[in-house]
Point group: C2
Chain length 214, copies 2
């Protein structure tokens, strides 16, 4: 079972690492980081570099596709070789997945038309223009398309998908292996749970981000 995780410049690290750390622990799984060029790709902050080990043309038949999000997603929305590759491998995947604003890339490639999907809470309102129906759920299954909410939600998606693929016992073994017994010090991880002024501030900031004026 091959898991292809897409990289591009200015991806958000945990978007990619959450599904990686869970799904790559499945029996017989082999994960590969794939990008338009091989070599180190810098994340959204720039201080982390992750290696892509294969080019798009070298990965033609993954069983699972994972598309992370991040500010660099903005540069991946135009039709071209990346979208062609996404559509080509999607034709053969068992599961096509995204985390955070990765769903906007899947949507721009035309894969989410008429489907329920999610994204980072700040990007949910961009889904309808791509033909998708946004939901407030953290992990959304619609057929073989699995989209997860912002950044850290890829861990929950990975475990949920691991259970669908290999059964509850295997997924629970992965969960215990990574000691995923979350104990956040605050209950502020969703826009309706965080203090209202914090949610408002991030909404305001995101306007600049989305306009590319960071």
């Amino acid at each position: 079972m091959q898991i292809a995780i897409l990289l591009y410049d200015r991806f958000t690290t945990l978007d990619a690492v959450g599904p990686y750390e869970t799904l790559s622990r499945l029996p017989e799984a082999e994960a590969v980081f794939v990008a338009e060029r091989t070599g180190v790709h810098r994340n959204d902050i720039g201080s982390l570099g992750l290696a892509a080990d294969a080019t798009l043309s070298e990965v033609t038949a993954p069983d699972i596709l994972v598309v992370p999000g991040g500010p660099g997603q903005l540069a991946q929305m135009a039709d071209g070789p990346l979208h062609e590759w996404i559509r080509a491998v999607d034709a053969g995947t068992t599961w096509t997945t995204s985390v955070c604003t990765g769903s906007l890339i899947l949507g721009a490639a035309g894969l989410l038309k008429g489907r329920r999907a999610t994204s980072h809470w700040l990007a949910l309102d961009q889904l309808p223009a791509l033909g998708a129906e946004p939901t407030g759920e953290r992990v959304v299954f619609d057929g073989k398309y699995v989209t997860a909410a912002g950044v850290s939600s890829g861990i929950d998606m990975g475990l949920t998908l691991a259970g669908r693929i290999a059964g509850d016992a295997v997924a629970q073994t992965i969960q215990l292996g990574i000691e995923y017994d979350p104990q956040p010090p605050y209950d502020a991880g969703a826009p309706d749970k965080a203090p209202a002024e914090i949610t408002a501030m991030l909404r305001e900031r995101s306007r600049f981000l989305l306009a590319g004026e960071e």
Copy 2:
């Protein structure tokens, strides 16, 4: 504020990325991945490569030190240049931290003597030989030493530490930014919560791992 995250071959990815994704979002923070040599370091599974951008000698005064764990920890237990560097930078840190079996490296370097600490649940029983007192808590503060439990616990540690450093509002902003509203599909993330046979199986497997017979 400089955050130095140690890399070595066969580290566990999320051990490093959990604190990175939270702490690097602090205002004025600059994270740097540091190792005995620069360049890509392969993780425990081998399919992920993370770049170290600085050598030990180039990072002399970090404010925060983060030591991840992973199977490669076994090769980092002998006294030598790495332990000397850890002790040298620890003399100037505001916080010295670890995730998972990274605490065994801190302990081997002599930093946890007489301190309360934690580690991956499968490695807790190795702490006393290093002079530390194991606890069952997920994130343990003892003075400036902060140790976290297995793999995914580094996210909780990062947010908790972010709150101590910059206040609750900043930490909550980070939590909402990474949409950390965990919804694991199972409640199996701790040895006393997972089905007994799964806990027993991982204990059995870890005997081989710890003997280096993986």
